[in-house]
Subunit: 220 residues, 2 copies
């Protein structure tokens, strides 16, 4: 399958295709047309065809998509056919919640260790995963082929820790800290800014309430 330059918007949608195809497989569906997939996913059929054409096209006119084939190919594009070793920096509630989340391991994201500045947490484990002091991070990364570092830290320390991680060879950072990281080229950052997410919800709720209070017609 030939791979062209893919837009960020398509990449954003890929995991969602993967999820829907997984659900279809679970319910025993073997083939699906772009029209049927469109109805389920609530996007237009032409967008589906266009998105999937980016990857060389998987469908045959009149036959629809082979669900298993498409699922496997998108999984391969997403790198889910390989294992990724993960560490979590920050052993607080969120760090522990992520370490406990079984779905990540199922997808090949294996949490190998958790690091925290609080010496009281050292020696504890979460689902068998050890919590270690920050001083052991460098050696651990080099010895355990760590590819992804998850930051669940206060924003005040996130920048410094990210710089350390990069100097130890980490190339992908999953950032939950409430700040933007400036990283060199070749280092990937995926942000999960939870505060911004709830603010968007609050924005929409506030607009809705104001429109209804003032009796204006609701916007689409």
């Amino acid at each position: 399958m030939e791979e062209k330059e893919i837009s960020k918007a398509v990449i954003r949608r890929l995991p969602r295709y993967y999820r829907y195809l997984g659900e279809l497989m679970e319910s025993g569906v073997e083939r699906i047309s772009s029209n049927e997939l469109s109805e389920r996913m609530r996007v237009t059929a032409s967008q589906i065809r266009q998105d999937l054409n980016n990857f060389g096209g998987f469908g045959q006119q009149g036959y629809g998509y082979n669900v298993k084939y498409l699922y496997d190919e998108i999984g391969r594009l997403l790198g889910l056919d390989k294992k990724h070793n993960v560490i979590i920096i920050g052993g607080g509630n969120l760090g522990q919640a992520l370490a406990n989340y079984p779905a990540f391991e199922k997808r090949g994201f294996i949490v190998k260790g958790i690091f925290d500045i609080n010496p009281k947490l050292s020696g504890r484990t979460v689902r068998g995963i050890p919590i270690m002091p920050m001083e052991q991070m460098e050696e651990f990364i080099r010895e355990n082929d760590i590819q992804i570092a998850t930051l669940t830290l206060p924003k005040t320390s996130a920048t410094e820790v990210a710089d350390q991680l990069i100097s130890y060879g980490v190339r992908a950072i999953w950032n939950f800290a409430h700040t933007d990281l400036n990283v060199p080229e070749g280092v990937m950052v995926e942000n999960v800014h939870l505060s911004e997410s709830i603010m968007r919800l609050s924005y929409n709720l506030t607009r809705y309430e104001e429109e209804h209070k003032s009796g204006k017609k609701e916007k689409k």
Copy 2:
């Protein structure tokens, strides 16, 4: 300040402006030009001017933006000048992590209660917030003016619980369940799909590794 129809992309960026303006205030900056803000936020100055013009324009040519004024106005647009009562459905690790997160309360999102199907959790508290059985949810929502419900549930029960919440009058759902919710008009959903987020990171990492392995030039 006049409010026009604002695009989703602008709304996505608003909380980020709010964060940067908050940081500027903390460091004592009173005025900032779109050029300076542009450098810090790594977006173009013309995008900043265009975005903020959506809200009637806050800047004066040659004088830049008044940081405090802009911060307060964006906060008001985001509904942060009001308190929002929140419940969390799912008292597992993630639910507890969110209940423990002090930044939400600082922004006016007050977690009033946590609900869980596990009867063993009932009666416990997280940061003083009670965990209650699902049977008490309806009454609690009606009596505590709950506006936002946070779903940290398995996808198998998320749809059913969302329907219940909506029938009890909840208008905003912060959805961490790994599924899309179909909601009627007038109900707001903000999704945080963590699995999809880590898959995007994995996609970028995989592409990078393949390009480097095959000796191709790196894509921007």
